[in-house]
Amino acid sequence: MATEFITKTKAAIAQLTDPSLSVEGIDITNCDREPIHIPSAIQPHGIMLVLSDRGNKREWRIVSVSQNSAQHLGISAKSLLDKPLSQLLNHSQIEQVKSCLDRAFEAVNPLQLEIQAASSVQLFTAVVHRSGEFVILELEPTDKKESVTFFDFHSLVKRSLSLIQQTTDLTKLCQVAVEEVQRITGFDRVMVYRFDKDESGTVVAEIKQPDMPSYLGLRYPATDIPKQAKYLYILNLLRLIPDVHYQPVTMVSVPSLETKATPIDMSLSSLRSVSPVHIEYLVNMGVQASMSVSLVQDNQLWGLLVCHHNTPRSVSYERRTTCEFLAQVIALELRAKVENEDADYKLNLKTIQMSLTKALLQSESLEEGLTRDAQNLLSLTSSTGAAFCSKNQIKLIGHTPKLAEIEAMMTWLGSRFEQGSIYHTAALGEAYPPAQTFESTTSGLVALAISRVQRLYVLWFRPEVLQTVSWAGEPGKLTELGDSGEVYLSPRQSFERWQQTVIGRSLPWKECEVEAALELRTAVIGLVLQKADELSQLNSELERSNVELDSFAYIASHDLKEPLRGIHNYSSFLIEDYGNELGEDGVDKLNTLMRLTQRMEDLISSLLHYSRLGRSDLSIATVDLNEVVSEVVELVGMNNPDNVSVEVPRSLPVVECDRIQIAELFTNLITNAIKYNSKAQKRIEVGYSTETTADPGRMVFYIQDNGIGIRKKHIETIFRIFKRLHAANRFGGGTGAGLTISKKIVERHGGQLWVDSVYGEGSTFYFTLEAAKHG
């Protein structure tokens, strides 16, 4: 164990406890503050010596000793005090003790020491460790016959290890643990006691004498073991009480130590005297001897191996160490077993996760990907309801609280994510009291924040499940408020089953379910990044193809026009030079040739214009459309006779647009309206609608004519480039690009262009533009 961890844990114990409380003063009202690490007393089955090298570096002096020294050594405590250790041990023994301190504690302890007692030589098991400025030497008398050699140790643990390795799940592991510890120690009852998150504990494995009542499945409240005791269980993995009716043996110390405020810290000591409350507890249970071995995982107390005996029972240091060793092996195995727990279920979760990821890949939106297969989303956490919450809407799946209830909960929920991206509770009503009234009695919630900035959350709900907990005795009776308001603790009197029905709780969320939800977030974020990547690649490809299109258009403009101009010019030269010889017919044909080249040039120019339209930047300004329309009408009017009327029934609004492009749009549409019109009086109306569109910032404009109209089947095709409905020389000609260009202009302004038409009666072209913000 790292020294730093030991120091920290000791500090935690010191903070929890009150050193001024003496053993005599401890009762159930203050045992949670009992300084159990500094009892100033030990159990009588050994001797404790406290040594100091202060004053004389070369020699250890005995500064404190347990008062039972006469009993074990035949030398009174008083006569040992302030004496050098050499009084008791010979030089080589002292060197052995010293060398133990130089190396790792577990690797060398214990030592076997032979000490000359009053009449005979007594063999002791000695354990040595440091406590602050002192060295603590604990001696337990041992019988040579009982001591375990390395080979005994090997045969003791070999069987246990092999059995442990064969176990497949947690329950079996714990069962093997209790059986093996019972085999090694011979205790009447051995249990594995597992701590829950709320620090209460449950007996998860048990082996006992047939006539004893079973404690398997019983739950013990957190208050049964005070916090400081839990810390001590981490520091000192094994505690033995050979006889609960022991008389604590007090320590006598040199005067300088006696006056110290804080007695010797016995956290790491195995002889340390235990709390009278704990003794009372054991006595109430009918236990005469007890041993507990800690199951520690990642410096956390996962559980305890607890041994009880109906009569006093001692266990040799070696057998204790074997149990401690087994407990460490079991603790190591725990992780694998816990992970192995529900292996099939976890595999199933992985499958669901993969299918969700696949759905996300194929979906247009996050919402669609997550909710397309609702059952999948629910199965990921074994929930009965879920909600997908995005910035402005919530989608509900299965049994959930009402929409308004979830909406109201969002603010509270938003502050639950300070620690990470996930929050979960099996008792929502406790964490968020308004949830107690949720109609569907939702008690379990897992909330996943995919993006807090974008307020993207996925919530999973579980209903309330009435659960029965078997307490070992009524937990409510353990902590009672006394008259003056202090917490009144009573040591357990009854260990009979007491069943409690727990309300307002769902089944607890398994770690793997919470992890599955978290992994979903990782998958979503991965996908978002991937999409962004694809998009940027697409963009660069688009950019390249735009550049290619640009150069294509450029080549078209030059290389196609040049031969065209040649044809045109040479035709003209032919007419000039040889017109007379060719005759009227020949000249006519050459003129047609020239007209065709002219037409082709128009087409090329339109194409160029169209391709450039998409590439040039818009210069957006606030434009009064009345001005634009009157300019266009004036321009168009120059080439048109009097039989055309353009009406603007009410003043047009001000819009945000590129003035030149919008003027071109009006020119194209008005020109078309005049061109494709065979009526004697051509009427055109320019106006706009005040009806709100899907996008409130946009207005719908229209240009209505009484022209030839468009057959329904052609309505869409007219917008295709160079798609003409009429012969090139009818209706005044044209390249067939005007409407395509118009559509592009509107689309570049973020709007839409469409047409309604009655064949033979006229057409109405509609387009949307953004209204000026202040207009």
Binding site: S557, H558, K561, P563, R565, G566
Partner: protein, 160 residues
């Protein structure tokens, strides 16, 4: 062909058809008669102006009074020729009129930025060609005064 010292117009044009049309219009329809020299592409034009390559021996030929420059040509195109001429202390005074098919605003902008004196889009119709070319010659050789270094080009009036 112009004699070595008289003012002349340098036409840089790769298209024979375009050159013939220009030549024809110049000869038949314009009041002002200006001798022509033709280079087929940008590289030749630069050789001609710097008396290099095939033109190493022609140092007696002075610079032209006006250059009519096509933009898209094989080898060094018109843009490069224009850039080089306008960076040259001696030659930058010669007016350069870009005469091209390209109506791309980017080309127009680039040419003026690089010092083109005028930009003319080759018209499609013969009638328009005639009028453009004649106006051009009339302006540069009749209306404006050209710099001394461009060999005090004086237009020769065509005996009408």
């Amino acid at each position: 062909m112009a004699s070595t010292n008289s003012p002349y117009l340098l036409v840089v044009e790769d298209s024979d058809e375009d050159f013939e049309a220009l030549n024809r219009v110049l000869g038949r329809h314009c009041e002002i008669e200006v001798p022509l020299r033709r280079c087929y592409d940008g590289d030749e034009a630069l050789d001609f102006l710097y008396h290099k390559g095939d033109y190493a021996e022609t140092e007696t030929i002075g610079p032209p009074s006006l250059i009519l420059l096509d933009l898209n040509m094989p080898g060094s195109n018109g843009r490069e020729v224009l850039q080089q001429l306008k960076q040259d202390e001696q030659l930058r005074v010669i007016p350069v009129v870009v005469f091209t098919t390209s109506s791309n605003p980017k080309d127009i902008e680039t040419c003026y930025r690089h010092g083109a004196n005028s930009y003319l889009i080759k018209p499609m119709k013969v009638q328009q060609l005639k009028s453009s070319v004649c106006q051009l010659l009339n302006y540069w050789f009749g209306v404006t005064t050209l710099p001394e270094t461009a060999l005090s080009a004086t237009a020769l009036k065509r005996s009408a």
